[in-house]
Amino acid sequence: MSANISYLQCPEKGFKNLLKFWLLTVDHKKIGIMYLFFILTSFLLGGVFALLVRIELLSPEKILFTAKQYNQIFTLHGIFMVFLFVVPSIPASIGNFVLPLQIGALDVAFPKLNLASLYIYVVGAIIAALSIFIGAVDTGWTFYTPYSSTTDTAVVMMVFGAFVMGFSSILTGLNFIVTVHKLRAPGMTWRRMPLMIWALYATSIIQVMATPVIAITLLLLIVEKTLGIGIFSPKLGGDPVLFQHFFWFYSHPVVYVMILPAMGIISELVTTFSKKRIFGYNFVAFSSIAIAVISFLVWGHHMFTSQSQYANALFSFLTFLVAVPSAIKLFNWIATLYKGTIEFRAPFLWAFAFIFMFSVGGFTGVMLGVISIDIHLHDTYFIVAHFHYTMMGGTVMAFFGSLHYWWPKIWGRMYSEGMARIAFFLVFIGFNVTFFSQFFLGSKGMPRRYYTYLEEFQIYHQISTFGSWILALGIIIMFTYFLNSIFTGKKSPPNPWGGSTLEWSKAESPPIEHNFAEPPVVTGGPYDYPSRQDKK
């Protein structure tokens, strides 16, 4: 029996043993949970910075901060949210937990490397966080030169932190690619893989291929700042636009590191809560790969106001190409609902939030792809609103959905569905109030990263700040019932949603130490739900 106890149960008593049980584990599930803890901590910190930014913007006058402090806080918000939270969020936490379970494996291919990548992430995050105390960076999360070469804040330390975290991302990606290739259960052919796996696989390709570029870029920036070798700074004979090319060559693909796993989650949620096979499996699976490939060729759309007009033409064209596979997925998800049996359970609510908000992000993305329109909207609040609709409205909503979906699997406990509805409602309303008002601000001409602003913009800023409080309340409620459920939640059956993938059909909630009592053998597709026609 001892082989069949839950992976959460420490076999030996005592605090020291418990610490060892967690910190020295090579179990992908526990590593995923530790990732989840650090990632959510970063999310909360980034969220506090966001709320502070919004409070300062209630009025064009000083409320809490000087201009410099304000610049530092919005920079920290960006860096924490992008490098410490969104990039690792779904793959490293939920991905780590779910990927081996969904392909019927006992663990990832390199369990020790998996633990190493967690520690590398934590070390990088600590370096980044400590840099706040020696002079928080005020460059914006983009570190554009020559401002970043000349500012007196701790750019080198912060950039080094991001550099270190990059390795964690590369190692996780590598681990996932090998795991998907080598450890699939007998019978799980490529076309029988759940779409979450396709999405994580496509994400891993981007992580492994793009992250080295940002590592090199950040290293060059450090070399320039410390050794005075001219690479980006014009005073030393460098070119600041070169930095932008390098930076976005990574940072555009990384947008898809954020959104692809989110799309994978939505595919899982839509099928489970309609008890339907996905409509157009091949289109959905291959559109993930198409997005991953094209994502490497669109970075120039961040530079329509600084690069040549020929480059603008090319990048605008490629940007529109990448829009199509995203639209296809959206159509496929909606078509999947056709003739299903649909249940509006808590995780499915977040799938709806994703579809709603990601559509808004997508439509405004099409506007921004049109060069003539982008020239006007570039670096205004319209951009701020657009990328929050995709990164928060898209990725974070799907991340919340995944937490609600796999929470019973992770802990073996249920959360309160009623509270989940309240939290969803507050987050949905709060998010839209916060960010939709920013579309108006931007197209009316309000630039981003402004400490003070024209009085005529104040009403939009006040609406936005008000929305951020509703949003924050919703998230606080969510964290509360999640925490509460771990200790007092009702015991969950192995398959509370009636899901068809292996983690539901073949594993306990919470799973046993090595995932499955017997190695699963796969005989059908990932979403083999019955239909009334079969029965006749």
Binding site: T66, A67, Y144, P146, Y147, P234, P240, K276, G280, F283, T305, S306, N312, A313, S316, F320, L321, V324, I328, I334, A335, L337, K339, G340, T341, I342, E343, F344, I355, V360, F363, V366, M367, G369, V370, I371, S372, D374, I375, H376, H378, D379, T380, F440, S443, K444, G445, P447, R448, R449, Y450, T452, L454, E456, F457, P530, S531, Q533, D534, K535
Partner: protein, 318 residues
């Protein structure tokens, strides 16, 4: 002239259109906007229809039918969006390239961006100013360079924007339809004063423009203190130094003359003429306690202009 309101004038999404190009941008924007709303409403309607029609209930416990493919439908909804976005690509590019190629007869103003103001040089007389006046209905070209970090020149009413780089000249052109005073913002983050790096472009008739040039020329013959008062505004000193005693990014000029200054290296000095001159030409040499070393050098001012500023500061007594 009153500066145009960006919020009150114009449509619900855009500030008032002041150039022919602005109208074109707004048009393609609204085409996408209304099509997006239409598509979005249809998508949501289908979503909710399915959710209600196929909700789980007593009669619907198992999916009615597992529909996994419909290649005709899938190819259709791949091809149609592809065609639509290709049309948008061509449309946006054609409009953009027209706004990018400068007409040969344009009047060329040189614009220098620096932390945290814009300095325009008039081609006719070589005079400089921190706000620009241009003739209405004529082609105008702006040619930019930055003295320090990246900036970006943005005129919302004209729907145009161009990054300003320290190592490359960049250009913009426009032709203003209607007389008016239009906002200019910096849209590339450039530090503490980024949000106060404001300016304006006034479009006036040819006659008023000629008149304006004469006033600018006459400024050179003003008494020094009056010249200084003009330079205080036209070189953007007012972005960081107040004349009413309030603290901005730099120390106030009110009562500065003859006051004892305490520096970050522990030394002290009286603000006399030599101190003021050094502070204009090499501001980083001595930093007053409580302030950051952020002011750019104004060594390119003429001696007459520097004297003008010093004489002006002398007049600002408590």
């Amino acid at each position: 002239m009153e500066v145009e309101s960006l919020v009150k004038e114009g449509t619900e999404w855009f500030p008032a259109a002041a150039t022919d190009f602005s109208g074109k941008v707004d048009f393609v924007y609204y085409v996408i906007y209304y099509s997006s709303i239409a598509i979005f409403v249809v998508l949501l309607a289908v979503f909710f229809y399915f959710c209600i029609r196929y909700r789980k209930n007593k009669n619907n416990q198992v999916a009615e039918k597992q529909v996994e493919h419909n290649y005709k439908l899938e190819v259709t909804w791949t091809i149609i969006p592809l065609i639509l976005v290709m049309i948008l690509f061509a449309w946006g590019f054609i409009d953009f390239i027209k706004s990018y190629v400068v007409p040969s007869d344009a009047i060329e103003y040189r614009v220098v961006g620096q932390k945290w103001n814009w300095i325009y040089t008039y081609p006719e007389i070589g005079a400089t100013s921190s706000e620009l006046v241009v003739p209405v209905g004529e082609n105008v070209k702006l040619s930019f360079v930055s003295r320090d970090v990246l900036h970006s020149f943005f005129i919302p009413n004209f729907r145009i924007k161009r990054d300003v780089l320290p190592n490359t000249y960049t250009t913009l052109w426009f032709n203003v339809d209607a007389p008016g005073k239009y906002r200019v913002f910096c849209t590339e983050f450039c530090g503490d004063g980024h949000s106060t790096m404001l300016s304006s472009i006034s479009a006036v008739t040819r006659e008023e423009y000629e008149e304006h040039l004469k006033t600018l020329e006459a400024a050179n013959n003003l008494p020094p203190a009056e010249l200084g008062a003009q330079l205080y505004k036209s070189y953007g000193c007012n972005a960081c130094h107040s004349i009413d005693g309030s603290n901005l990014i730099g120390p106030t000029w009110l009562g500065l003359w003859g006051k004892e200054r305490e520096f970050t290296d522990g030394t002290r000095a009286i603000a006399d003429e030599n101190y003021l001159r050094t502070s204009i030409i090499a501001p980083g040499q001595e930093i007053v306690v409580g302030y950051n070393n952020v002011m750019p050098s104004f060594a390119y001012l003429t001696e007459t202009q520097i004297i003008g500023l010093i004489e002006y500061i002398k007049t600002l007594e408590n």
